[in-house]
């Protein structure tokens, strides 16, 4: 069962901007996030200030123009959102392949908890894959040092 106070923080690269644009996260098929009910993004030496609610995970789907077209034009709102995310990914030059799509609460949604970005001052990246943190810890942290050790090391098992 998902825990809405448990946040998976993913190494973002372009994913933070992609989430802001599309309300979704695209990754390799079958990636797991333990029981995290929320997702945040780490890039440019900070955990960006938004913990989106994980609304739905589609573990494996074909990312293609055909699938994007069919779903985007669907009457089903969930299919439409998936199609939207696919279209955004394809326009972002993702190649056609099997992917996992995570539907997240949009950046401006009430369901998305906003907080001050958490800076990272360490010599190396705070995460290169994903880590976990409690929501209240993210909301009160001034730097990643404030996120205690038991909030999670890099999670290779999720990949």
């Amino acid at each position: 069962m998902q825990d809405n106070d448990y946040v998976v923080v993913v190494a973002a690269g372009t994913a933070w901007g992609f989430y802001r644009l599309s309300g979704g996260y695209v990754c390799q098929p079958g990636r797991t996030f333990q029981n995290a009910g929320r997702m945040a993004f780490y890039s440019n030496r900070q955990v960006h200030g938004a913990a989106a609610r994980i609304e739905r995970v589609i573990p494996s789907v074909e990312l293609s123009q055909a699938q994007a077209a069919r779903r985007t034009l669907s009457l089903d709102p969930t299919e439409r959102r998936v199609g939207d995310i696919m279209t955004a990914a394809l326009s972002d030059l993702w190649s056609e392949r099997e992917v996992q799509i995570v539907l997240l609460s949009p950046f401006h949604s009430e369901e998305t908890v906003r907080f001050e970005p958490v800076v990272h001052r360490g010599a190396h990246a705070w995460t290169q894959n994903q880590r976990y943190a409690r929501l209240d810890a993210l909301m009160s942290a001034r730097s990643t040092q404030d996120l205690t050790a038991h909030d999670g090391q890099d999670d290779e098992a999720g990949l």
């Binding site: 077209a69 034009l73 009457l75 709102p77 939207d84 279209t87 955004a88």
Partner: protein
């Protein structure tokens, strides 16, 4: 052994075993071309094809360089001879060539195009044919029938029945007789080309006088009575929204299915269903792309249908949809439509 004999041996040794691949490509690409023509309501276009024989390929590889006759025109015949696989599309009259050309441009990557013997290039009539060098579009290259052949090219000639008759006669006289045609015969062939060109024009005028003002094959721009096919839908979206050329054809296939669910049967039905929103196409596009900058022309057009048809859009599509929770889907439809109406209103006011 002469240089020509050496080259002939090398080219033959390469092409003989490779020819099976060209034959397989010919089979797959001709079916692909026929399906494309059928989907564009051009199924009555006659399609022929061939893969060059070994002797024909070798002969072409031995073609002399026009600048330096001692050398060869093709330094690397295996890559430079691009018509190893060729297809020919024969249409009734010259006005029927453009729709076929348009369809090929929509469905394929056109590497080269040449209108040989185009009316504005010739002082004397003669050989006329449209030549296009085509490659599959990226999204189709993964199809199983094109495995290991996705990057191959096909040369497609498009010509009329009369042009084909003249070209066939001219080819037979030039290449299949013991001696080339005399100057007198060449003059008569040229005159015959002129006669056939006049005949083509007369056929067109007869057809138009009869009242059949549209070509036997599909017209270039959509008319209201035109049935909805992916090709006519693409033209319609291009006319209303613009940007159709940047949108993958597969989106128009999907939109055509949606229009079927909406019980819209022709272009006129669709235009009526837009209920005036087509006049605000620019504002609708801007409103959509404010939150979805990646939205393509089909997305915008579908949004316009939702705006124009309102409840009817939802009701008609619901009959065909496998929507798990109707109330949620209806709420989302209304919410999205309402937001778009407000966004457009804010832009035009």
């Amino acid at each position: 052994m002469s240089e020509r004999e050496v080259r002939a041996r090398i080219v033959r040794a390469w092409y003989e075993p490779a020819r099976w691949r060209f034959l397989a490509f010919e089979s797959a690409v001709v079916q692909h071309l026929r399906r494309a023509l059928a989907s564009g309501e051009l199924a009555n276009v006659q399609v022929e094809s061939r893969t060059k024989s070994v002797d024909s390929f070798v002969a072409k590889a031995l073609t002399a360089d026009p600048v330096n006759p001692a050398g060869f025109k093709y330094s690397h015949p295996e890559t430079e001879i691009v018509d190893a696989v060729g297809a020919r599309m024969i249409v009734p009259l010259s006005t029927d060539v453009a729709p076929v050309r348009d369809l090929l441009h929509e469905r394929y990557v056109v590497e080269e195009e040449e209108a040989r013997g185009a009316a504005d290039q010739l002082e004397v009539p003669g050989y006329q044919s449209l030549h296009l060098l085509l490659r599959l579009r990226k999204h189709e290259r993964g199809a199983p029938e094109f495995k290991d052949m996705a990057d191959m090219v096909v040369e497609v000639q498009v010509r009329t029945i009369l042009q084909h008759a003249w070209a066939s006669l001219q080819h037979d006289l030039a290449y299949k007789t013991d001696r080339p045609p005399t100057p007198s015969l060449k003059r008569r062939l040229t005159a015959l080309a002129g006669v056939l060109e006049l005949a083509d024009r007369e056929f067109i005028q007869v057809r138009e006088a009869h009242g059949d003002v549209e070509p036997i094959v599909a017209v270039g721009s959509a008319s209201r009575g035109e049935k909805l096919t992916p090709t006519s839908v693409r033209k319609l979206v291009g006319n209303v929204v613009g940007g159709a050329e940047e949108t993958d054809q597969i989106w128009f296939d999907a939109l055509t299915s949606v229009l079927g669910e909406l019980e819209l049967h022709n272009v006129g039905d669709v235009l009526r269903s837009l209920a005036g929103w087509e006049r605000r196409a620019e504002a609708v596009t801007a409103a959509v792309r404010e939150t979805r900058p990646y939205a393509n022309a089909v997305y915008v057009f579908d949004a316009m249908l939702r705006l124009g048809m309102g409840e009817q859009y939802f009701a008609r599509r619901l009959e065909h949809a496998n929507v798990d929770q109707h109330p949620t889907a209806r709420r989302e439809f209304d919410r999205e439509r309402g937001g778009l109406v407000r966004a457009v209103a804010a832009l035009v006011d």
